[in-house]
């Protein structure tokens, strides 16, 4: 119990393409989370921002940018960057400060605006920057990597493009009534398979878009939370592990993997180690999960996650999907929010949005997309350059 913190408030700015500033989205999400928690901004002792690297200097110092927009209140501040895992890194900064006994009330905010089309590196020649070189020498975009993972599943495990499409169909259905989602429209298998191929075998509707959006959570000590809520949702563990050498799976944005010629690969892949570290820290296993929010950058990647969070053995994800185990009403609904399929990624906000969704589910307040009897939920994602994250929550 001593390693728990409470999620006292959650809030979001709806995902979309709004054309306004990330600061505005972030403040609106923050105010929603504060109102949900019943906490005043002036009572916040620590504010953490998930950094956005595409919005000028204000994005580099997101924590202080939000603090200023809310009105300087003298709180302590931090800004965390960890690519797609930035949101959980920010949550972890807040959680550890509370667990250290240095504050009772922390606010975590992530917000982003996104460019059109592919995520591309900043301009300029940078011959020592792997994220630049992969575009220059190979023409490898983010979907390239998603395509590689998808094709590997097909050749190793017999996945079909219909399986991938079925993930999209499921998530579209899940997100249908989620007011914070950008896409709220049923999608059919036929529509997925009629969409243009982007990176064989993946089509446009297999790959998540990029969106404007924001999410925020108010984390507090359990002592503080118990004065305000009978049974607050708790964060039981956060994982922010890096890979172990040699990492022999090709990770975005690398051109090559580590070599296993001198040292044998670790027993567990990097992606599997992400959730594992959270389970271990909390003493909770995957068999206790009621639901999961996983980072479905592509439909096929969602299937990889089933295995990596321990829902099944390697190669078992397709069967789980086909059996409906990960659909609403199944044993462990995955992405009840609709996932990235319905949101589109807003980098520093997305991992926080996952925690918002699990919190609503564990409160029993998810409305039409409520997972019945939800008691334990996990969020996972992976970012560039060895950033994995998982947040394990329970009632």
């Amino acid at each position: 119990m001593s390693n728990d913190v409470a999620v006292l408030g959650v809030g979001m700015h709806p995902w979309g393409k709004w054309g306004r500033s990330f600061v505005e989205y972030g403040v609106i999400a923050a105010q929603a989370a504060l109102a949900d928690a019943g906490v005043e901004w002036n009572d916040v002792e620590f504010i953490v921002g998930g950094e956005t690297v595409r919005n000028g200097y204000g994005g580099y110092v997101a924590g202080s940018t939000f603090a200023r927009a809310l009105g300087w209140n003298g709180s302590r501040v931090a800004t965390c960057y960890a690519a797609c895992a930035s949101g959980s890194a920010a949550i972890e900064a807040a959680r550890t400060r509370i667990l250290a006994g240095l504050c009772d009330v922390a606010l975590v905010v992530g917000a982003d605006t996104t460019p059109k089309g592919f995520l591309a590196p900043n301009i300029g020649e940078r011959w020592d920057d792997p994220d630049w070189l992969r575009f220059r020498l190979v023409g490898a975009t983010n979907p390239t990597y998603f395509g590689l993972y998808a094709r590997r599943r097909m050749d190793l495990y017999g996945s079909t493009t219909a399986d991938f499409a079925a993930v999209k169909v499921k998530n579209a259905l899940h997100g249908l009534h989620n007011d914070n989602a950008r896409y709220r429209k049923q999608v059919t298998l036929e529509e997925v398979e009629a969409s243009a191929v982007v990176a064989d075998p993946l089509r446009l509707l297999d790959i998540c878009a990029t969106s404007d959006g924001a999410a925020a959570v108010v984390l507090t000590s359990m002592r503080f939370a118990r004065q305000r809520a009978l049974d607050p949702v708790r964060i039981r563990a956060v994982s922010t592990v890096t890979p172990r050498f040699p990492n022999t799976a090709l990770d975005m944005p690398d051109i090559a993997t580590d070599s296993a010629v001198a040292v044998s690969p670790p027993a567990m892949s990097f992606r599997a180690s992400i959730a594992h570290a959270a389970y271990e820290e909390a003493g909770i296993g995957p068999e206790e999960l009621s639901l999961a929010e996983v980072y479905d950058l592509s439909t096929a990647l969602e299937l990889d996650w089933y295995e990596d969070i321990g829902l099944c053995e390697a190669g078992g994800a397709e069967q789980l999907l086909r059996d409906g185990a990960t659909s609403m009403g199944g044993k462990v609904p995955v992405n009840p929010s609709g996932g990235l399929a319905c949101f589109g990624e807003a980098v520093p906000a997305q991992a926080i949005a996952q925690v918002c969704e699990v919190t609503w589910q564990l409160r029993g307040a998810a409305g039409p997309r409520q997972v019945e009897g939800a008691r334990v939920g996990i969020t996972v994602n992976q970012g560039l350059f060895g950033h994995g994250s998982a947040v394990l929550l329970s009632k």
Binding site: G117, F118, A120, P121, I123, E125, W127, D128, W132, L133, R134, F135, R136, L137, V138, G139, A140, T141, P143, T144, G147, L148, Y149, A150, R151, R152, D155, L156, A196, V197, V198, A199, D200, P201, L202, F245, P246, T248, L250, D254, I255, A256, T257, D258, S259, A260, V261, A262, V263
Partner: protein, 148 residues
């Protein structure tokens, strides 16, 4: 008009008769590193900074493959106008026990490859600049594969 041929990036591969990627081998623990830009050994149990330069295997097996149906943003350099899709493969080198990404040779698509199929390294033009043709490594299907 004679064009000089140069690698698109210096030191990553040789351009002779039998072109090959160039790795670094740690002189202490034997770990191989590609691209050859490490200052420190990538093995966390080894703090060596001494490497010898080694050519990597010119053949390997496909770890996975895909293709690009939309033109990537800069700094990608398009070689055709209008853009034509190209295939990309991640290839496992058995001796070195590592995977290297690269485009698939012109004329081959992802349908010509599957996980485990054999490829060899070839060079193809990336761009011409100042009378110099810059080349880049690509993976060409061997054995059972055929042009698409």
């Amino acid at each position: 008009m004679s064009q000089q041929i140069m690698p698109a990036i210096e030191g990553w591969f040789t351009i002779g008769e039998e072109p090959a990627l160039v790795g670094q081998r740690c002189t202490k623990c034997g770990t191989i590193v590609f691209p050859p830009v490490a200052t420190f050994c990538t093995n966390p149990s080894c703090s060596s900074r001494e490497f010898s330069s080694v050519p990597l295997s010119r053949t390997g097996t496909v770890w996975s493959c895909t293709d690009a149906h939309y033109q990537p943003p800069p700094p990608f350099i398009p070689t055709t106008d209008p853009f034509e899709p190209f295939a990309i493969a991640a290839v496992e080198l058995e001796a070195e026990r590592l995977v290297v990404l690269g485009q698939v040779a012109t004329g081959f698509g992802p349908g010509d490859l599957k996980v485990g199929s054999s490829v060899e390294l070839v060079l193809e033009p990336l761009e011409v600049r100042d009378d110099t043709q810059y080349v880049v490594w690509k993976w060409r299907p061997t054995s059972e594969a055929s042009g698409s």
